[in-house]
Structures are given as C-alpha cells and as structure tokens.
C-alpha cells in the first residue's frame, strides 16, 4: 500500500518504544494515533497500519488515542493489533474493530508431564488429538445442539459446557469473564448465524488457528515467582496451547451486522474513511443489537475452547493411561483477543464507562484488580501471546501501565510480515513439515498449503515483540514456550 502522504514519516518518537501521529496528520482525526513498537518493529510495519490506525482516530466518540500494539499489521478496518475506546454514551461500536472471528482467543493448559515423558508418545498424541479435535474447512464438531441449547450456550458460554461434563468447575475461574460475558442477547442473532454455527462447537478452524504441544526450555523462565503462581514448575514441563474462536457462528454475526451498520451510518449521518469501519452509536438500537449478538458469539467461542479442552483431556487420559486430574491438565488461563467490552477506566481523573475494542489485541489487566482471578491477583492477569508454529509462544502478565495507557491491553501474536500467497511461494507445506519433524516438531494439518502459509519466516520475531512489551511495560514476560507438536486446520 503506497501512501499519498507519508503517515509513517509523521510518526514522532515520544518514548523509547512509543510513536505518535498527531491529529493534524489526516483530516478528521479526533485524537492522536499511538503505536507501541521498537524501531525494528516500526520499520517492519506495512503502510496499511499507519493508514488504518489514523482512520480509527477519526471515529466518533473515540477517547484519548487510537492505539496499535507492537505486533500490528495491516488488517481490514482497524489494523490487527488495534485498540480503541469509545464513550458508551456518546461513542460508537464498530464490527470492524472486533473482526469477524469474534472472541478469537488463546487458552493455555498446564500438565505435570515432562518432555522426556511425552516425547516417546508424541506421534501417537498428535495423531489422536488430530482425530479428536476436528479442524480445517468443512469440519463439524461432536456436540449436537438443539436450537434451544445453542441459545443457552450463547448466554452461559463455558459454564454451559462445564455443567454438562465438558470440563471442571474450577476451569471457569481461569477464563476471562469466567467464560460468559454479560449482555449476550440470542434474540439479536439471525437464523442464518444459528444454522451456520450450530454444528461447529468443538472445531478448531483453519488459518492461524492451532492446537500446540509446548515445552519450557532451560532459561525460558523470565519470572520464576509468577511462573510458579501460574503452575509453571520449570524446564521440561509440557503445556498445551489452543488458538481458535467462534467459528462460522461469529463470522455470520459479523457479516450480518456489517451490512446493517453500512446502512445505519446513513441514518446517523456518520462518515468513515474505510467502509469496513462501518459503525453505529453504541446506545442506538443497531449498536445495542450488535453488542448483544457479538457477546453471544464471544460466549460461544469460550464454549468452543472449553469443549476442545474436554477432548484434549480425554486424549491425554487415553495416551498416558492416567486420569486428566492426575496428569495436572489445569487451565492456566483463557483470554480473548477479538472483542468489544464495556469496561470502566479512569479518564482525566474520572471513571468512565467505555466500549473498549480490541482487534488482535489482548486484555492485560494489571495486579490487584477485581477482574483478575483471586489466585493470580498479586501478579496480574495472564496474557497469552501466540507466535509462529516454528518459533514458539509467550506467557506474560498485565501491568499497571497497561491499565493507565492502553485500557489494559497488549499484543496478541508476533504479527505477519508476509502475505499468505508469498509464504506459499517460498515453501511447500509438506517440505516444511518434514523440516520441522527433523527439528523435533511434529505437525498434522488438514491443509498442507495452510502449513506453508504459517511458516515461521512469514512472522515477525516474537522475542522482539515480547521485549518491546517489557520495555514499554504493557506486559511482564513470565515464560517463553517452545513447540514440539502442532495441529492445524
């Protein structure tokens, strides 16, 4: 994307890893745009990021600044890595600030197992997980829901699953919002969305979604105390990471409301710089209907990850001939990175109710807050950042500075530097799988071309993202996790 005037050049360094584009840079900007990035990461960001983060700064009711996290890259509407808060009473809500994959998110599960114990059975484990957790285009889940049950899932989220034996009661305390966000309204969901998503509970999806077996390498723990609090004992421990969302149900909610908002903008006299930023006042009938439907989709995504967790536990029990509780398969945390939530934050000394949009950005509440689980309150809310399937992922915790500056938000991944088409041109999926197997990472994938699209070279360096977050104090690193097995759609 070539900019007619260089918004990139307009970015002024205001702190070591903070860049600001003033409202004078583009007509219509109501607030500045702020990008959190090291010099290296800023250089790697495509021009689309600068265009999009300044477009968001033009939306009605935006508070303080339009933000972009260090993993930012060109998306649609908001940049991926975009964060923006709008006053609930005077601002807007925009599906383009959430994405079609509503409550796409991460879940981390610990185990008592070590890599030495898992490695001899890793191939069997990956094969069994691949069979048990359907993935890829056209996959259907194992939970059969009546329309009435699906409506219950929309409101109760992960709790619905636990009540039916798909999980443990204590799982809920370690899920953002206890796995059921308030405000879900099934009446605002279309029949098409119901039809599209009802058979997909318990499916992984494709693209960058995955289920990964990971381990802690020597030297990977950055904060031993926080790691212990989170159930990370030390090098060699095996963990399981899950990345997926609300599947076709959420995608259809997004599609339905994008069209509704496209029309509603005429009613409310709102003009936007990118049609994908279609929005409506949060308190309008359209805004409230979308919030109810979107929250229903978010809760369904929590249920999806919960049902998959159940399946993972069953597979581990079978492969290791021990009960999942004995294997210590406890949920470390489950966190969204595509949502809009009603939150109260301090603005100019006053607590305001804000609609906080996070698109490819993770909530990162600092220590002490009531929304942080009791057992984690002293260290802050866990933040799970997925990297590429070759290089690994990171577990961090939220900070007070994130609360003060970014509405308690941080990065969500390492961020792409290369399109999917370019990546496929550079490597064959099967070749990459063989190379990874030689390095000790076993991959099973529904789509071989999908593996090539997710090659490590298509992503930024995760350690650079994590180090940037540490330097700007938006999150505190706890441990880096290295993949040993991966299942993809």
């Amino acid at each position: 994307m070539k900019l007619t005037t260089s918004l990139r050049d307009a970015a002024q360094r205001v702190d070591e890893c903070v860049w600001q584009i003033g409202p004078e840079a583009k007509p219509g900007m109501l607030v500045p745009a702020r990008i959190y990035a090291s010099g290296t990461l800023l250089e790697q960001m495509d021009d689309g990021v600068f265009e999009q983060v300044t477009n968001v700064a033009c939306l009605p009711g935006i508070v303080r600044a339009s933000l972009c996290m260090p993993d930012g890259h060109w998306g649609y509407g908001f940049p991926i890595g975009g964060v923006a808060a709008f006053q609930a009473d005077t601002g807007v809500i925009s599906p383009g600030g959430i994405g079609f994959d509503i409550n796409c998110g991460m879940r981390l599960i610990r185990t008592n197992l070590t890599e030495d114990q898992v490695r001899p059975r890793l191939s069997d484990l990956i094969a069994a997980l691949f069979e048990s957790v359907p993935s890829g285009v056209g996959a259907q889940g194992f939970v059969r829901l009546s329309p009435a049950e699906f409506r219950e899932v929309m409101v109760q989220g992960a709790g619905w699953c636990v009540a039916r034996g798909y999980g443990w009661p204590e799982d809920l305390a370690h899920i953002e919002g206890r796995g059921a966000l308030p405000g879900a309204d099934p009446d605002q969901v279309s029949d098409r969305a119901m039809e599209r998503g009802r058979q997909q509970l318990g499916t992984l999806g494709s693209g960058n979604h995955y289920l990964e077996i990971q381990t802690v390498r020597p030297g990977a723990i950055a904060d031993a105390h926080a790691a212990r609090v989170l159930g990370i004992e030390g090098p060699g421990q095996v963990l399981i990471m899950l990345h997926c969302g609300s599947r076709g149900f959420g995608h259809q909610v997004g599609t339905d409301y994008l069209k509704i908002f496209d029309r509603a903008m005429k009613t409310y006299g709102i003009r936007v710089r990118d049609r994908e930023l279609a929005c409506a006042p949060f308190r309008s009938p359209e805004g409230q209907a979308y919030f109810g439907a979107m929250t229903a989709a978010a809760n369904t995504a929590f249920a999806n990850r919960q049902v998959i967790t159940h399946r993972i536990r069953k597979v581990f029990e079978r492969v290791f001939s021990r009960e999942a509780r004995g294997l210590g398969l406890e949920v470390v945390y489950d966190v969204c990175h595509n949502t809009a939530k009603l939150e109260r934050h301090v603005v100019d000394g006053r607590k305001l109710e804000l609609v906080v949009h996070r698109k490819g950005a993770t909530r990162a509440f600092g220590p002490g807050g009531p929304d942080v689980p009791d057992d984690y309150r002293e260290i802050g809310q866990p933040v799970i950042i997925g990297g590429s399937m070759e290089t690994g992922s990171a577990l961090l915790v939220g900070t007070a500075r994130a609360m003060a500056e970014t509405w308690g938000s941080t990065a969500h991944g390492s961020g792409r530097t290369m399109s999917r088409t370019q990546a496929k041109r550079r490597v064959w999926g099967e070749t990459l799988m063989q190379e990874m197997a030689q390095r000790g990472i076993i991959v099973r994938a529904a789509s071989k071309s999908g593996v090539a699209e997710e090659a490590g070279f298509a992503y930024k360096d995760l350690s650079e993202v994590v180090e940037t977050l540490r330097r700007v104090d938006l999150s505190r690193p706890v441990v880096m996790l290295t993949p040993i097995g991966n299942i993809k759609g």
Binding site: M1, G75, G96, V137, G138, H251, R420, S449, G450
Partner: protein, 142 residues
C-alpha cells in the same frame, strides 16, 4: 470464463483477490470459481450437487458481496463447495442474481483442503466497469 488472481502485499493475514469478467454474469461466475479455489483444490472435489441460488440487493456491489457470502455460508452449514456457476444478473436497482451452482460435499479423505474463509470484508471492496471489462477487488477474511 473471466480471470482471477490472488494478490500479494494486501491485508497480510487475509486473502485479497482481483476478479475480472467480460460481463457481470462472467464476473459472478468467476468469483465463485476463485472462492472455491481458495477453499479446496477443485480437481479433488467430487461434483455431486446442484443448487439454485436467488439473491436480490439494492446495489450491484452488495449483490456481489451477498453472492460470495452465500457461498461461504453454504461451506459451513452444509460442508459444500461450488466451483461451477451459471449466473444471470438482471435489474437496474434493485438487482437480482439467478444462479445455478454445481459442486459437492467436502470429502475429508480425498479433497485437498485450502483455507477456511470467514467472511467477505468491505475493506477496499470494489466493483466497476473499466476498459471493456467488469472488475472487482475483494478481501476475504481467512
């Protein structure tokens, strides 16, 4: 049959495609082929199903949006992909599409799978007539 090509360097995590057709009908048919190619290798998809699709929209570009969205919907609801389409676009606002599509159910043993599209986005979404051809640009969320 028109042409389509997937674009580099646009919306990195998603899929941008340019579609061209000699007529509107051709463009809609080519759009279906491009979308199917994104999802599967059509050579590995058993062609067993025919279906009629009728859509109406107030604007022409919204008819294209609804057409591609409908094909994505059918992929999730029925597990079916439709690489072949005969399309007839009529009207001058509102516009109407009468399409007959041919395809089949994804056979997970034999069908080579591609991406799992989530939705058609409005980002850079365009449909216009230029240099004697209909042209569209569509970014699909993957």
């Amino acid at each position: 049959m028109g042409d389509y090509r997937f674009l580099d360097d646009v919306a990195l995590a998603d899929c941008a495609v340019e579609i061209e057709g000699q007529s509107l009908d051709d463009l809609f048919e080519t759009g279906a082929a491009a979308l199917a190619r994104l999802m599967v290798d059509p050579a590995t998809l058993p062609i067993t199903t025919e279906r009629a699709i009728v859509l109406e929209a107030p604007e022409l570009d919204m008819l294209l949006y609804d057409w591609l969205s409908e094909l994505i919907f059918l992929k999730d609801r029925d597990g079916q992909v439709f690489p072949h389409a005969r399309a007839r676009v009529t009207g001058e606002g509102p516009y109407r599409l009468d399409a007959d599509v041919r395809g089949g159910t994804i056979d997970r043993e034999h069908t080579a799978l591609g991406a799992d599209p989530k939705a058609v986005t409005f980002h850079q979404f365009s449909l216009h007539f230029a240099d004697g051809r209909w042209r569209a640009r569509v970014i699909i969320d993957i």
